[in-house]
Symmetry: C2
Subunit: 289 residues, 2 copies
Amino acid sequence: MKKVLAFDIGGTKIAYATIDEKGDFVSEVIKVTTPKTAQGIYDLLKTVIKGLEDEIDGVAIATAGAINNENNKIISRVGNLPEGYNETDFLSLTDKPILLENDANSAGWAEFKLGAAKGSENAVVLTLGTGVGSGIIVNGKLLKGKSGSAGEMHVRMGFARERKCTCGLWDCLETYVSGNALTTDAKIYMSPDATSYDVIRGLKENNQKAKAAFEHWQGCLENALVMVANLFDPEVIVLSGSMAQFVEYDKLNKQANDDILTQPFVLKQAKFENNAGMLGAALLLLERL
Amino acid sequence: MKKVLAFDIGGTKIAYATIDEKGDFVSEVIKVTTPKTAQGIYDLLKTVIKGLEDEIDGVAIATAGAINNENNKIISRVGNLPEGYNETDFLSLTDKPILLENDANSAGWAEFKLGAAKGSENAVVLTLGTGVGSGIIVNGKLLKGKSGSAGEMHVRMGFARERKCTCGLWDCLETYVSGNALTTDAKIYMSPDATSYDVIRGLKENNQKAKAAFEHWQGCLENALVMVANLFDPEVIVLSGSMAQFVEYDKLNKQANDDILTQPFVLKQAKFENNAGMLGAALLLLERL
């Protein structure tokens, strides 16, 4: 059975594992602190690939950043990775087949092929972590756009210029429904020092201010669900990332379906969580081998 | 050469014409006031089809409402058409091939095949009329979603509950960038009796209040462009509908491209305007004959 070495390259950690055609992890997932330079990242990848090259049929890489439609180059700025990382020559890492894909697209593909969106043809997978990413499936294919960077959830949710976004604009979706957004709500509804952790702890203790913060955050998420359901008319919307575990699925599913003009969708929690990026990139490569 | 009878069914007027395979109108475009009942509309269509049936190879209908492509049925509420219209049995109108498509999708297809978006593979056509519609092209195909109702631009642009939308929600895109939205801005920036017409007249007279109203409206449109460019990464965004003629294209093109995270797009004015719906539906049917 064919198998590939899959990486997930993030600003904090790089994870890797070997994955087979069935989507099974045939090795343990190893996590390494992300090196501080682009060269350091390149050298780490090179070392791991060389060490495993005899056992694998290719290398799949899920990474932050927009990836061109040929799946071998980063074509956008990549905020939380070292300078120069976006110019990495990934193809030179190995003579074996290699595939790059955006991490949110990869996670979306894993959920679509084997996870919470399996069986659908049109699905949206929203990754609610520090920021917000998306993997969007249209007619059984990843939505990539003309250059590979479709699915950027930088949609302005208001005109008030209340919340500055990492992209340089104001009031993007990300500033209302990410983990950082819940910290913003914590400061507004609880106290200037509060964070998202205080909100989550407060919910368990039935703290009214924590509840208000969470309800504002979840109300914004409902807006986001209505938006993607009205635009894409998907069978299923999947929530992934560190914030997905806190969402009240039944309540939000009902509310958002009441508000849309399109046909009903189903809201689900992601199946694969942290390993979805590696798995999705691996599946995309294995389909081509 | 094959030719089809094409209708565009709107709340105010029904237009029809005969269109050939090259996309040429081989008859004059006839406009009729929309009958007040669903039965009246059905009877009108039936009469016209019967009168022309010997000369045509099929019937193409662009209409308000979301369309299911498997059975040519309307699957949504259709706000500004008579009660019962959405249950019309279009298939019983003729024994010839018949095709129904949403009017904004049809207009989008016309611009994509023969108009301002020709040559692209990914395009968004925004129709800025009384309301706002969209026809979205992904990889050379209309974005339809699971049930045919994708592309509903009912995206909430704010949390202030300032502007009630026809869809029942608050602060949808439509309430900020449609013709009605410009009337709202006229009332805010000019006077309680002012309408969009006063804004347009005021611009010509260099009226500062009219300018402020228009700039607010156009700023909201810039938000909408950034949204669709970030989500769909299209080669081109086309503006259609009655409001499209007033937009400052060069200025807006530059502003929006400065603000997106995806690769540059080109902003264009639609080529076909009022006849785009008929033409697009006709082309969709002619491709199948």
